[in-house]
């Protein structure tokens, strides 16, 4: 299944979005943006499935956060997945 990288300027934005998605039952990876997708240098991205993009879009609008871009990632990626670090509410 195609994966998408939604790129954002700030890790803080990415961290908020990741938690917001998790509360909606969707787990996404938080990764450093590969250089080829980042024009400004040093940014972070959420790696998610294509089907999760509408939810991500809704949450971005809710928090008034604009992605810097959304890119389809090749099938194979060497970036290891991270694991959630979220305490039980």
């Amino acid at each position: 299944m195609a994966r998408q990288l939604a790129v954002f300027a700030s890790l803080n934005q990415v961290a908020l979005l990741k938690r917001a998605l998790y509360r909606e039952g969707v787990y996404v990876e938080m990764v450093r943006t590969p250089r080829c997708y980042s024009s400004t240098g040093c940014s972070f991205a959420l790696r998610c499935q294509t089907a999760e993009l509408p939810l991500l879009d809704r949450i971005c609008r809710q928090w008034k956060i604009e992605p810097g871009g959304i890119f389809e990632e090749p099938e194979k990626s060497e970036t290891p997945p991270d694991l959630p670090f979220i305490e039980d509410e």
């Binding site: 300027a9 700030s10 890790l11 803080n12 990741k18 938690r19 450093r32 928090w63 694991l83 979220i86």
Partner: protein, 380 residues
Amino acid sequence: MIYLDNAATSWPKPPGVVRAVSAALIRCAGNPGRTSHRAAMDGAALIQECRERLAQLFGIANPLRVCFAFNATDALNLAIKGMLSPGDHAICSSMEHNSVWRPLTALAERGVEFSVAEAPPSGIVDVASVERLLRPNTRLIVMIHASNVNGAIQPVAAIGQLARARGIALLVDAAQSAGAIPIDVEAMKIDLLAFPGHKGLLGPQGTGGLYVSERVNPRPLKEGGTGSESNSPLQPSYYPDRLESGTLNLPGIAGLNESVRYLMKKGLAQIARSEAALIERLLTGLASLDRVTIYGPPPGLPRASVVSFNIRSMDPVWVATELERVASIACRPGWHCAALAHRTQGTQETGTVRFSPGPFTRMAEIETALGAVAELARKA
């Protein structure tokens, strides 16, 4: 030790805070926002969790408007120096801490004017006295929420109404109220809230924050690495990055995260009730002693967990030293970095002895303290 100096820094910290700090030092290696390895990402998630807890505590809609600082003084400087430019006018109360008075005084040398709304000796500012000082170029009202000298609580919500109606930003110094008195930034119309992590929020020293509403946009006090848009020479315009350059105190924030979790689980109302009972006993006990003068709001008015007093003709420093020597009481004498407040209550020559119980202070400790003060007062 009977610790009655929570207004300086709270002690002890809730169970789990030390563990949280240690865990962060062990697990969250690296620098959040600078890299993407697991340890750094864990740290980033922890920081966000703390932001969200603080947002919930203060009624802040967007956690990204919570900018971490290193203490309340840091946050106040960020706000005051970020909001004011030459030609602007600001208003503060006569109960402010030096962390408001000194930045305003420094800015006054660079073309910013400020006026002081005088409070009566009890320490509570009248809203009308603030309104009388308004000018066309008034850009900021700075108000201490609760006095660190005598516990007086300012009518922040009413001042917020006034400020909002006039399009003026309100900065609240919540150094003594965060974690002790309920704060809702929307209901109280607060545009900027400066708070320490290490007092009422029960976290480690080296933590604090500044809430910045979407109605204001202070200039950054410092520019630097934010982990975002590194190829740009410009400081990011979005929050919190705009006001958070450099490495955050991640272990401290881990501890703060745990302490805020503890506070919210225990409930501010319960803590407030407990502290109110301690303060009431302190006030009635001190009031019954000859040669002891208590300062601050009259009985019956709400007060933060702070009591200032003097024993007639005794140097407060000597009193505090004796209290520690004879009864292991830790308290703070002097002027409490708040010369304006001491001038307001008429103790600018002597200073005072300050007792400030906390959530873990027991009534038996208050009784011991009262006994020790009574013993000293007999010698006066």
